[in-house]
């Protein structure tokens, strides 16, 4: 391990030209940053969940007891549900984009509604 810069090696780029999909590659990089921050927030939330569970059990709360904690099946299932809800919350805008496409042509914008109701 001596000589390996783990931080750099962990984030190394895969061979090959990277495809950028959004109209602007810089926007896509911002999206990547946002998703990484969301990931780290989820990690923090799971740590907090551990703290709450240790406290509820009357256990000592130290970095070591947090790191050593492993959830039982019920706690694990609750965590998975939390992660699923969390992802759905941060990606809401894409869900709505799709719903708009599905309702295509059948929805009126507010201007149209306003003039309709004014009659």
């Amino acid at each position: 391990m001596d000589g390996i810069d783990i931080r750099r090696a962990a984030g190394a780029k895969a061979k090959g030209k990277r495809p950028w999909f959004l109209a602007d590659a810089q926007t896509e990089r911002v999206m990547a940053v946002a998703m990484a921050v969301a990931q780290e927030l989820a990690v923090t939330r799971e740590r907090l969940d551990t703290v709450e569970r240790l406290l509820a059990d009357g256990q000592p709360v130290t970095a070591a007891t947090i790191d050593a904690y492993r959830p039982d099946a019920a706690a694990m299932a609750e965590r998975q549900r939390w992660h699923a809800d969390f992802v759905a919350r941060i990606l809401r805008v894409f869900q709505q984009e799709l719903e708009e496409v599905e309702q295509q042509g059948r929805e009126l914008d507010t201007e149209a509604l306003a003039s309709q109701f004014a009659e």
Binding site: I6, A9, A32, Q104
Partner: protein
């Protein structure tokens, strides 16, 4: 052998598994919606005809904002998963390598060949955005590439392959046992075995047989051998070799009863496929079986948008042979190699996953995620 994840590393993987699942179940179906609602009509209006093939569909979809966003998220999720896996594995690389070395203990059942030359389709590509792919060694006797692959497969499949990621191999063993009850293989060859996810269950299901597991990548073989030892599986030999050209001294003609591949062909090449089918025919004893698990070939009845979505990994997740491979006439290839058309077959095998043992992160009902389905297509042939 599995790397030991810390509290926070597990949390990171939990997030990534749920992100992948969300992309697959909530957003991926949207690609069909935008295709029908606007991409296809717009193309028809301009071209005066429908799409001719999946490549035309892909090029048109690349201009659609929803496809762009979904693809950007998906590509990024792959890269995040690599970073998460590599940071976890590399911080314990010394311990992992030492553990593998202790389990491997210079055993004769692990045969490495440092002089082996990598075929270009392996040397040139970092498959599924995995920096260094399967073969790169960061230190001598390295297993880190395999440890990273092992940990990440679980995340990208959402646990659908079971806790040991061996659902495919267990399904194959089960299928062969029940479909061909008379067949009792003594020598089984698994080509492109990786770290043996699907070779080990064959060795377990046929304890009187010897499984010879071949791969080009030393880290996969070292890790795979150590993992098999740790699981108490003794009837398996790991050999570093190129499946295109197996040394006849070590791999004589007609020396195997069964030659298996699992999720292998899409990481080879057209020329390699031809050569490997010839090797398989040479190596099989008369009455022997060859069986291949892969994603199903594209056929005309599969909607173009479906084909295009299955092709996503080919173009955007570093699987450059995936697309061409799924258009190849594999029956023709097998026939050219000497197999008789009336002795060929195909069908579906289901991944056998222990429900209780399953991590709750796994998708219930195993929804399909283009290339990561729990029900697998298999084709094969009997020799003579």
């Amino acid at each position: 052998m599995f790397p030991e994840p810390s509290h926070d590393e597990i949390a990171r993987y939990n997030f990534l598994a749920n992100l992948n699942r969300h992309l697959a179940t909530y957003l991926s179906p949207g690609n069909r919606v935008v295709y029908e609602a606007r991409v296809r009509p717009a193309f028809r209006a301009v071209a005066g005809r429908d799409f001719r093939d999946r490549h035309e569909v892909r090029r048109a979809m690349l201009d659609d904002p929803f496809f762009q966003e979904w693809s950007a998220l998906r590509r990024n999720a792959m890269e995040m998963r690599q970073q998460a896996g590599r940071s976890m594995v590399l911080r314990q690389i010394d311990a992992l390598n030492a553990r593998a070395q202790a389990l491997n203990d210079n055993a004769g059942t692990l045969r490495l060949d440092p002089s082996l030359e990598l075929p270009s389709y392996l040397a040139k590509v970092d498959h599924h955005c995995m920096p260094g792919s399967y073969h790169t060694e960061l230190v001598p006797d390295d297993v880190s590439a395999a440890a990273n692959y092992d940990s990440g497969l679980f995340v990208t499949t959402g646990g659908a392959l079971g806790p040991m990621s061996d659902g495919g191999g267990r399904a194959v063993a089960d299928f062969v046992r029940t479909t061909f009850p008379e067949f009792s293989p003594r020598r089984i060859l698994d080509l492109g075995c990786g770290l043996g996810h699907n070779a080990v269950p064959l060795a377990q299901a046929f304890p009187d047989a010897v499984v010879v597991a071949v791969d080009t990548a030393a880290p996969m073989l070292r890790y795979g051998h150590a993992r098999a030892k740790a699981l108490g599986v003794e009837n398996i030999v790991f050999v570093q070799a190129n499946a295109e050209r197996l040394d006849p001294a070590e791999f004589p003609d007609a020396s195997f009863d069964w030659v298996q591949t699992t999720m292998f062909w899409h990481e080879t090449s057209g020329t390699a496929m031809r050569r490997i089918f010839e090797e398989i025919h040479r190596l099989l004893a008369p009455g022997g079986l060859t069986l291949h698990v892969e994603q199903p070939q594209y056929d005309e009845r599969m909607p173009l948008v479906e084909q295009m979505l299955r092709d996503w990994d080919a173009y955007y997740n570093n699987e450059p042979f995936w697309s061409a491979m799924h258009g190849i006439d594999v029956r023709g290839l097998m026939e050219d190699a000497g197999f008789r058309p009336d002795r060929m077959f195909d069908g579906y095998v289901r991944a056998k996953v222990d429900d209780e043992a399953r991590n709750p992160a796994s998708p219930t009902g195993a929804t399909e995620d283009h290339g990561r389905a729990a029900a697998w297509y298999a084709f094969g042939a009997w020799k003579n």
